[in-house]
């Protein structure tokens, strides 16, 4: 869409804030997506992993004779492995004795642990051969519940001497924490285990070049970080490793370097042949890290007029079989425990334990949903105890709009916000008072189908660990520009958003700006995409690099126009440089690039910038409306109004898309999805048939309401938007379901609040 089509005249100065259609769409719509599995790789051998079918067992022996009898099949086991365990990541306090052997050595620790690798000419033969690899196991007791794991009666890593991967906060209790409270409520929320389910299962390919360099094509969110970890794990200089992330079909936090990608690169070197592995969905459901899996026990106290005085939160994180990022997430949960409320006293303790389950990593929200889900549930329990409207309890505890920057007692420094404003906007948008009237009417009538209204007001943290991102802008010989970013896009639309950011500064049509990313040979450095940090640091870096290019262009134009650089101005509407006050004699970008090319001075129109920022704190308010059949437990989500404030929006079309998808995932946790194991650690939901991934038929349309409170932390005013919808939606829907059941004495429903759990809660309340 052109600026004119958005109602802008030629005088319209900025493309920012316009609903520009995505530049990357056509190739996906035409079926030309460049996913790793689609890349041509002549003569590539197929890699198939033989995975453990038991959750916890000693490996007695492996017989690959029958498999290797198939044509051109080779089986590789731990006996062939010359690399040590992978991880755990170097987080402070994480038990270093819990590394993940790339191929299981003597023991398997979850269903999906790799016990052998089949190399074959094609995938079908690989699948046949993998079934013929016979593994003799001696089963061990399986630890499925983190509560059991914390007892340390059975150990996953005997040498570590404990199942505790890490802890945060303090186990000490202040006996006086709830002094002065008229009302103290407590409860437990289990933020259940979820499978991230990017639609593209992982794929990895690798090839050893004639120069001894290894190129790895990965379905990943973090190509530059992967390159460093890959080099370190393989014992190579980073210069010997190139990582290329082409198109990636969704990540949601789960697609970062894991054992499989390391093995594929290792195999390419060992075999000196190109190799490729593409995950099946059933494999992905057990092998791609899961998310959430945190049990939270809360106690909240306050005065009888609704002022919260104290909050205690204890988190038990199931880290899965090998601690990765998930083990660290209680740190974020603790940091964000206070939510949008000014709570004078907070106590937090987090523990992470290993269990015989799929490792837990980041999944859309990663530690912050758990904090929001708990404080928002606790507020509702507190409100119910007081007989106060949940909206009113929130109003009495919000951090006020004029208090920013605001430091919580858990040491988060919120940059900016207007929590009361977000709530009032959401309540107005949904028609809150009318809905409460309708609810009262239905309750009085006493029908089976009751209405529930749920509120959540949340704040989250994006770019949570003060990261830096790289941006580079280069004018091309035809007068267009290339933006190179160390950020990555696996659906977020950077090819459009980042082009808009640079186009705005350069005064070029967005069509003339191309965004390059994902290739460590082309982009000098980068951190990748996770934690909703792309625009606020990567976008800001691209903007600042573009500004440098403009300054350098003024120098060049000054030479050509025989003027002082100080007198040269850029007309951003026309993309022309001229002497101030004399627009008739001007150089367009095409003119300038052509002359600079001829003079071999084009390199002067290239600049890079690294931008570092403190975290920003997006916030919002969601209101959910549900109908619950109180006889069967069936829940139907009727409406969800989402006010998500992520600061200034660069492209509202794309930002809305992020909210929609985020909300869907939040609702999926509230109502549908749960990854379940039996008592022996067998996954019961390891396919899309068993796992309740909602379809369009399970969800309503969303009512996204824009609100923009710019952050002072970057020149764009932008915060993160990728995870907000998820964080806000789950507690709103959860609270709505419980609200519908309040007349029946129900005070809580376990997540997911599906028919079964609602029915159970109703039966327990009746008992």
């Amino acid at each position: 869409m052109s600026a004119a089509a958005n109602g802008c005249s030629v005088a319209c100065l900025s493309i920012l804030g316009n609903r520009v259609l995505r530049k990357e769409d056509p190739r996906f719509l035409r079926g030309e997506g460049r996913y790793v599995e689609n890349l041509p790789l002549e003569g590539a051998l197929a890699v198939t992993f033989v995975r453990s079918l038991l959750a916890h067992a000693n490996i007695v022996g492996i017989d690959a004779t029958a498999a290797e009898a198939l044509p051109n099949v080779q089986v590789i086991t731990a006996a062939d492995m010359d690399l040590g365990p992978f991880g755990p990541p170097p987080f402070p306090g994480l038990n270093p004795g819990m590394g993940h052997p790339l191929i299981a050595v003597d023991r398997v620790r979850f269903v999906g642990d790799i016990v052998a690798i089949v190399i074959s000419d094609d995938r079908a033969t690989g699948a046949d051969a993998a079934e013929l690899v016979s593994v003799d196991y001696d089963p061990l007791p399986a630890l499925v519940s983190p509560h059991d794991a914390a007892k340390d009666e059975v150990l996953l890593f005997p040498d570590a001497g404990t199942n505790l991967a890490t802890r945060t906060g303090s186990p000490e209790h202040d006996e006086k924490l709830f002094d002065g409270c008229d009302v103290v409520v407590s409860g437990t929320l289990v933020s259940q285990r979820m499978a991230p389910c990017p639609l593209e299962p992982r794929s990895a390919a690798a090839e050893l070049g004639p120069d001894g360099r290894i190129t790895a094509w990965l379905s990943t969110q973090t190509p530059h970080q992967d390159r460093m970890v890959l080099a370190g794990t393989l014992g190579l200089d980073p210069a010997q490793v190139r990582v290329v992330a082409p198109d990636v079909g969704g990540g949601f936090g789960a697609k970062m370097l894991n054992v499989e990608e390391v093995l594929v690169a290792w195999l390419a070197r060992r075999l000196d042949r190109p190799v490729r592995w593409t995950e099946t969905r059933s494999e992905s459901m057990v092998a791609l890290p899961h998310g959430r899996a945190q049990r939270l026990d809360f106690t909240l106290g306050g005065t009888k007029d609704g002022k919260v005085l104290a909050y205690r939160l204890e988190s038990l994180q199931d880290a899965g079989a090998y601690p990765v990022l998930g083990a660290f997430l209680p740190n974020l949960t603790g940091l964000m425990a206070s939510g949008v409320y000014a709570i004078p006293r907070i106590e937090f303790e987090g523990r992470s334990v290993v269990t015989n389950t799929t490792p837990i990593s980041a999944f859309r929200g990663a530690g912050r949903p758990e904090a929001a889900q708990t404080i928002e549930r606790a507020l509702d329990v507190f409100a119910a105890e007081l007989g106060m409207d949940p909206a009113e309890v929130r109003r009495r505890n919000f951090i006020p709009k004029d208090a920013f920057p605001y430091a919580t007692v858990t040491h988060a420094v919120y940059d900016s916000g207007d929590y009361a404003g977000a709530l009032e906007l959401a309540l107005r948008s949904v028609g809150y008072d009318d809905l409460r009237d309708e609810q009262r009417r239905r309750r009085a009538e006493g029908g089976a189908t009751q209405l529930g209204i749920g509120i959540s007001t949340y704040v989250e943290i994006t770019n949570g660990i003060d990261e830096t991102e790289f941006g580079e802008v280069e004018v091309t010989p035809d007068g267009g520009a290339i933006v190179r970013t160390g950020s990555f896009s696996h659906g977020q639309g950077h090819e459009t958003t980042f082009a808009m950011i640079a186009a705005d500064r350069l005064g070029m049509p967005v069509e003339n700006v191309t965004v390059h990313k994902g290739d460590t040979d082309e982009v000098a450095k980068g951190t990748g995409t996770y934690g909703s940090k792309s625009t606020q640091i990567g976008g800001a870096a691209a903007r600042l690099a573009a500004d440098k290019v403009v300054e350098q262009a003024k120098q060049l134009a000054a030479d050509y126009l025989e003027a002082s650089p100080d007198d040269i101005v850029l007309d951003p509407a026309l993309g022309r440089l001229h002497v101030a006050g004399d627009p008739a004699i001007a150089l367009s970008w095409a003119d300038l690039a052509a002359r600079a090319s001829a003079d071999e001075r084009l390199a002067e129109l290239k600049a890079e910038h690294e931008f570092k920022s403190a975290p920003s704190f997006p916030f919002g308010a969601h209101v959910a409306v549900v109908e619950v059949d109180t006889e069967t437990g069936r829940v139907e989500l009727l409406r969800l109004v989402a006010v998500d404030d992520a600061g200034t929006l660069i492209n509202p079309l794309i930002a809305e898309g992020q909210v929609h998808g985020g909300v869907a995932t939040g609702v999926a946790q509230a109502l549908y999805e749960s990854f379940v194991y039996d008592d022996d650690g067998n996954p019961l939901t390891a396919t899309f048939v068993g796992y309740a991934f909602p379809s369009a038929a399970d969800l309503p349309s969303w009512e996204a309401v824009e609100m923009e409170t710019p952050t002072p932390l970057n020149a764009l005013g932008a915060k993160g938007i990728g995870e907000s919808g998820t964080i806000g939606a789950t507690p709103a829907v959860h609270n709505a379901v419980v609200d519908a059941l309040a007349p029946f004495g129900v005070r809580n429903v376990d997540l997911p609040a599906n028919g079964e759990n609602v029915w159970r809660a109703l039966q327990e309340a009746k008992a």
């Binding site: 259609l21 995505r22 990357e24 769409d25 056509p26 190739r27 996906f28 719509l29 035409r30 079926g31 030309e32 997506g33 996913y35 599995e37 689609n38 079908a124 991230p196 389910c197 990017p198 639609l199 593209e200 299962p201 198109d247 990636v248 079909g249 969704g250 949601f252 099946t280 969905r281 059933s282 696996h490 659906g491 977020q492 639309g493 079309l653 794309i654 809305e656 898309g657 929609h660 998808g661 985020g662 909300v663 869907a664 995932t665 396919t687 899309f688 048939v689 991934f693 379809s695 369009a696 038929a697 969800l699 349309s701 969303w702 919808g725």
Partner: protein, 154 residues
Amino acid sequence: MTKIALTVNGSHCEADVEPRLLLAYFLRDELDLKGTNVGCDTTSCGACTVLLDGESVKSCTVLAVQADGCAVTTVEGLAQGDELHPVQQAFHERHALQCGYCTPGFVMATVSLLKENPNPSEAEIRDGLEGNLCRCTGYHNIVLAVQAAARAGA
């Protein structure tokens, strides 16, 4: 090996295939039509949806030999040169795709849906696309795109 002859995106083709070969992999690996993505192994996600004699099927659950004598249309067969098919165009204009992996399947399923029901209600769209999964969009803009494509007479 079994000999098959079929029409794919208007072109006649013949091949010797293993009886167990799925249509999805025949299209991807034998014909190099990589637009048909495979997202699951249980006929759940619909990423691999193609048209078989004009009706949508999940090509991961059709054997290549079952397509013998049939006409197959994949996502590569929709656009007319530079001009996107109205369904593709509607998905673009309504921002109905993000990572793009489910998109070919949704587009093909929509073409089939609108052929059966040119003016579907929102509920009919949601029910009609129940066999396709998307993790990015929350379906909201996909529904808008289908409505827009219907208005455009796709």
